[in-house]
């Protein structure tokens, strides 16, 4: 995929949190139609990378471009990004309907039909307060909102963490049915190697603040959980899981 088509491009990105260098000289291009999975040990910097891409954390060095602009400075770039954080970050009193009323104003590409279709597929109640929902349903609310925004860059940070097996499969199935892969670059971080092997067009491995990519030959376009596990074993855990 040529670089000019990339929806997101990071060049030489460095981020320090306190004294520790969480990202260093990081290079990444994400093209439309790609579903990339971000793997790495605790503290490897996965969430930091997600936040840099989402524009909620500014890189200290290097350049970050999403649809041609720096998302930490450009509202237009942020409006092209759908972000599902690892823990729901919506006020607990909101319902999907009230949250959508706020989100709708932020995204020019917002699509209500898409919202309700995704909500049905995710089995999310339209009016129940988020505080009253199960963990899987709360994750579903965030995902439905992100899909309704029709983002060019869709970021999912550990969306399946902490879910029981049934909730996990339900969320995964609805995500795979509803996501628009064609025009969107999707990045999903996860510790779940079964999920990674299922969904990854590209498997990116975070190690020591930089990215490695599993070499994929012509014959082997897909990943096996065992191969990903072997790769992950070769990496080192980060200095501080809580910070990164």
């Amino acid at each position: 995929m040529s670089e000019t088509n990339d929806i997101a491009r990071l060049r030489g990105v460095g981020v320090k949190l306190g004294r520790s260098e969480v990202l260093r000289g990081l290079e990444l291009g994400l093209a439309p139609g790609e579903l990339c999975v971000l793997l790495g040990r605790n503290g490897a910097g996965k969430t930091t990378l997600m936040r840099v891409l989402a524009g909620t954390l500014r890189a200290e060095s290097g350049s970050v471009r999403v649809c041609g602009a720096d998302p930490s400075r450009s509202a237009a770039a942020r409006a092209a990004i759908g972000f599902v954080p690892s823990l729901p970050d919506l006020p607990p009193w909101m319902s999907l309907t009230t949250a959508a009323r706020f989100a709708r104003r932020c995204y020019p590409t917002w699509d209500d039909r898409r919202l309700w279709r995704a909500a049905d597929a995710l089995a999310v109640p339209r009016r129940g307060r988020i505080s009253k929902l199960s963990r899987g349903q709360a994750a579903g609310v965030q995902l439905a909102l992100a899909l309704a925004a029709r983002p060019r860059l869709l970021l999912l940070d550990e969306p399946f963490a902490g879910l029981d097996a049934v909730a996990r499969d339900g969320l995964l199935s609805a995500f795979l049915t509803e996501v628009d892969l064609e025009d969107t670059a999707t990045l999903v971080s996860t510790h779940d190697l079964d999920i990674a092997a299922r969904i990854a067009d590209r498997a990116l491995l975070m190690d020591g603040g930089a990215l490695r990519e599993q070499a994929v030959g012509d014959a082997q376009l897909e990943h096996s959980a065992a191969a990903l596990r072997a790769l992950l074993t070769q990496t080192t855990p980060g200095p501080d899981g809580a910070a990164a």
Binding site: L35, S173, L176, T177, V179, A197, I199, E222
Partner: protein
């Protein structure tokens, strides 16, 4: 009903597993000529794999002639589908059968016992 869910611990890549599931379904008659396969999106949700993996499996099935994509209408089992599927399955079926036979003979079962088993299995399959 076809169980579409792929196994990520299996040595075959997910798209290849989907190809095999489809061929099994066609060979068994669960999917008949003219039957429509699930849409790429729907199958992605059932198999828990991404769209590109399903599309890759459908391209492979199209290439060997078992299914045909008809523009925006969907993907359908071809007239030749069952024959193609059975031929593709035959090789695997025979090698599995021969391996089982080998094991049975090594374990000391007689040819007569085994033939009797085959006949019993076949009569059970036939509708009464």
């Amino acid at each position: 009903m076809i169980d579409w869910r792929v196994d990520t611990e299996a040595p075959e890549p997910p798209s290849q597993q989907l190809v095999e599931r489809c061929l099994d379904g066609i060979a068994r008659g669960d999917l008949a000529p003219g039957d429509k396969l699930p849409s790429v999106r729907a199958l992605a949700g059932l198999a828990l794999v991404n769209h590109n993996t399903v599309a890759r499996a459908y391209r492979e099935l199209d290439l060997i002639g078992a299914v045909r994509g008809e523009g925006g209408r969907g993907v359908f089992v071809t007239e030749a589908g069952p024959q193609i599927a059975r031929q593709r399955r035959a090789a695997t079926t025979w090698s599995d059968f021969e391996r089982a036979l080998e094991t049975a003979l090594r374990a000391g079962h007689s040819i007569e016992d085994l033939s009797e088993r085959v006949r019993t299995a076949e009569s059970k399959r036939r509708p009464a």
